[in-house]
């Protein structure tokens, strides 16, 4: 009896914790999907990533599981849920329209960490894609990290790690890296240590990556390249990102409350706490 009660509770809460579209005739034209394959991964490192979206409310953290796919020439870092979004987008792009259930499946994938970072390991360049309203992309030289090796050891994911510190984007970071894995890569844009970074956090603990798994599954390292992706400079991207957080209502359409009042007037600035302050 207890089992059935728990089961029913689980089913009810599952249905309630999802987006639903309550319009029976709903169908919408699908967006195009295009991607370019760059490489395949030799191994994939999964990081638990906790971050503070609002510096004024440090107790509220968002969490994501991100994957660093490392290939011979390229590596890619993004939220694992982004891979599911891409997979569904690719599937739907082959249909003319999608119905409410298919749209819900897409809406219910909550990508907590939006950026996608593709590193060209030999040319020392990277491509950054971020979603503001639509996807924006910029290209830059791989940042040079002036690491300082420190005393101290720690075991992360069964690997003995050494400590290093660095200043980047207006924040100070502590990294734990292992020479047990022959890669000088790391989460986000970080790299340049004599080993793979398994844990990394800033001194205010607003951004914290910790490795939780490694596998050798061969996955394609690709990047979406639809025509609608806006290619800008890094400076322009930061400007648009800041403007978006200051006035999100300008970027979005209109929505209405159940009493018929427009929601757009209630739109207030969004908290802005980027990983790169400078």
């Amino acid at each position: 009896m207890k089992f059935y009660l728990v089961f029913c509770f689980f089913i009810v809460s599952w249905f309630h914790a999802q987006f639903r579209i309550e319009s029976p005739d709903f169908s919408m034209k699908t967006s195009t999907y295009k991607a370019e394959n760059y490489d395949t991964s030799l191994y994939n490192v999964y990081y638990q990533f906790a971050f503070v979206p609002d510096a004024a409310r440090k107790e509220v953290k968002k969490e994501a599981v991100c994957v660093l796919q490392i290939g011979k020439q390229y590596s890619k870092f993004n939220d694992v849920k982004q891979l599911r979004v891409d997979s569904l987008s690719e599937k739907y792009s082959r249909q003319k329209e999608i119905n409410a259930r298919e749209m819900e499946a897409m809406m219910n994938i909550n990508v907590a960490f939006q950026p996608v970072i593709l590193k060209d390991l030999s040319k020392k360049k990277l491509i950054y894609q971020g979603r503001i309203k639509g996807i924006y992309q910029y290209q830059e030289d791989q940042p040079e990290f002036k690491w300082k090796l420190e005393k101290g050891t720690k075991v992360v994911l069964g690997y003995s790690c050494k400590k290093a510190t660095v200043k980047f984007g207006g924040r100070e970071y502590i990294a734990w890296f292992t020479s047990g894995i022959s890669s000088n890569n790391g989460p986000y844009k970080f790299e340049g240590l004599p080993g793979l970074i398994l844990e990394l956090y800033d001194t205010k603990d607003e951004f914290h990556f910790v490795a939780v798994g490694i596998d050798k599954k061969i996955l394609p390292i690709y990047l979406r390249n639809e025509d609608r992706i806006l290619k800008v400079t890094k400076e322009k991207y930061k400007e648009v990102e800041k403007t978006y957080h200051d006035n999100p209502g300008f970027f979005h359409g209109k929505a209405y409350n159940t009493d018929g009042t427009p929601m757009v007037v209630k739109s207030k600035p969004l908290p802005y706490n980027p990983i790169e302050l400078e």
Binding site: F19, P24, K29, G253, A255
Partner: protein, 97 residues
């Protein structure tokens, strides 16, 4: 006897749910109709003009957020799924914050 009650209950439930669906579909069809009316107006020189006014139809999509809050988007504002997805997440974040 029990079986009879069970079958009757099923039939009633079926009819009720079928009616509800039908009402919703009618509502949607009504929304999709474009309405044009003629309006007479006088300009500053006192000349009467007949103007054709077309009302843009609303086609409401009801979104129920994971926190249970409800809001509506106008289907006509979106041409593809990407922009719709962006707005759903944006307004849901406001509703549920």
């Amino acid at each position: 006897m029990k079986k009879m009650f069970f079958i009757a209950a099923l039939a009633v439930a079926g009819m009720v749910s079928a009616n509800t669906t039908e009402i919703k579909k009618d509502g949607n069809a009504e929304n999709a109709k474009e309405k044009t009316i003629l309006v007479e107006s006088k300009n500053q020189k006192g000349v009467t003009q007949t103007l054709k006014v077309t009302f843009k139809p609303y086609n409401w999509v009801t979104i129920v957020t994971p926190c249970g809050e409800v809001f509506y988007l106008d289907y006509n504002d979106y041409s593809t799924t990407d922009a719709f997805w962006d707005d759903v997440h944006h307004f849901a974040a406001i509703k549920c914050s």
